[in-house]
Symmetry: C2
Subunit: 231 residues, 2 copies
């Protein structure tokens, strides 16, 4: 497997490039429109053909590069069916399997941050990778106070799905604001302050007391991303 | 081997944490003073004991966390002997071997960006890792126009040393400004525009025509780093 984590500084977004060494097919997870030329450069230099562009959810903090990448490469764009996006190539559902050459990616519906939040899981050489979007962050979890977010749903997504992955699973989040790039399920179980709650009621109370300001780009980014980044 | 790449946004610096799974000893390469508390948190959470803090060179763009980390942990700090730093625990020389539990790191003197530039090489499970500081960047090389820099020396460091590492060696640089995190020797040989020169004269001409502004923090950072970050 060819694997690269990429960083977009303005929104502190991580984008993931995953490629199949044998077939040279590749997928990008959570792209940013301003970095599309850099993705195209890297794909060309690594001799990879982009076949899928996946979104973990409808982002409120940056504009997706999905539409521009589809235009440039013919790749298929996927976003959760809950987003009701009119322009996405394919509306993704829970349990959807995405084949990228010999790499098998499973989409898990992990709502809570938004109702259209998904995580992507794959296995390579007995090592699991979880691309958790804004559901599970490194020592944090995504806010649940807009875009049909729900702390109760997120509790289920975290405790009944993501934290049941093997302890050594790599956790690759959608963002990090302190410069950390990867974690593991074991690390998050032990050290993520949001995951030390005793039950769903305590988690709902914790999340409802965060009182965060709205993301700066929300009013622009959400409608733009429903339109595949075409603004 | 436990391995984490960390990012400091202000100076776009990559810091590397490498730990031995068996002995729990760890080393940090190129720390940033403002992130020291985050390093200490991560070391504690991963149950690692910091034994070395390595510098690839005397940085001109950020202040090292070496002194503060030595105070907090008792770790030994290393910087190239060419720096003539009065406060470093140990002045490092070409070929120096640094043992971190069962991990063996070799320091290569790779001058050019500065006269005290080093790269750190290690092997884990038949995979080489090169921490190249500002000598070899992803699709670039470090400027050579101050701190006793020399394009001629850098040409030798690149072509006679770093590019002779196995093609699949991971290249982990000291910085990246476009959000890329890792490369390989093969990739840099093929796609780094600075490495497409035919000889040392062409490289010197290329580097002397860059006409870059001085780093913003240079006047503060260089003396501070000669003093192990104690300002």
């Amino acid at each position: 497997m060819i694997f690269r984590q990429l960083f977009e500084r303005e929104s502190s977004t991580y984008t993931y490039l995953i490629g199949c060494e044998q077939t040279r097919q590749a997928v990008l997870i959570d792209t940013v429109k301003s970095a599309v030329d850099l993705y195209l450069q890297l794909l060309e230099e690594l001799n990879l053909k982009l076949v899928y562009v996946l979104e973990t959810h409808t982002h409120a903090d940056h504009i997706t590069g999905a539409g521009a990448l589809r235009d440039a490469t013919g790749a298929c764009t996927l976003l959760g069916e809950e987003a009701n996006s009119p322009c996405v190539s394919k509306a993704m559902h829970h349990g959807e399997i995405i084949n990228v050459g010999q790499i098998v990616i499973e989409a898990l519906h992990t709502p809570g941050h938004t109702d259209d939040s998904y995580s992507f899981i794959l296995e390579d050489k007995s090592q699991y990778y979880a691309f958790t979007g804004d559901t599970l962050l490194i020592r944090g979890t995504g806010r649940t106070d807009f875009q049909n977010g729900s702390a109760a749903d997120q509790y289920v997504s975290l405790f009944d799905h993501l934290l049941k992955l093997p302890d050594n699973t790599w956790v690759y989040p959608g963002h990090d604001y302190k410069g950390w790039m990867v974690s593991t399920i074991a690390e998050e179980k032990a050290h993520n302050p949001r995951l030390q709650v005793k039950d769903v009621a305590e988690y709902i109370a914790l999340m409802s007391n965060l009182k965060l300001p709205n993301p700066k780009m929300m009013d622009i980014a959400v409608p733009a991303n429903r339109a595949c980044g075409k603004v």
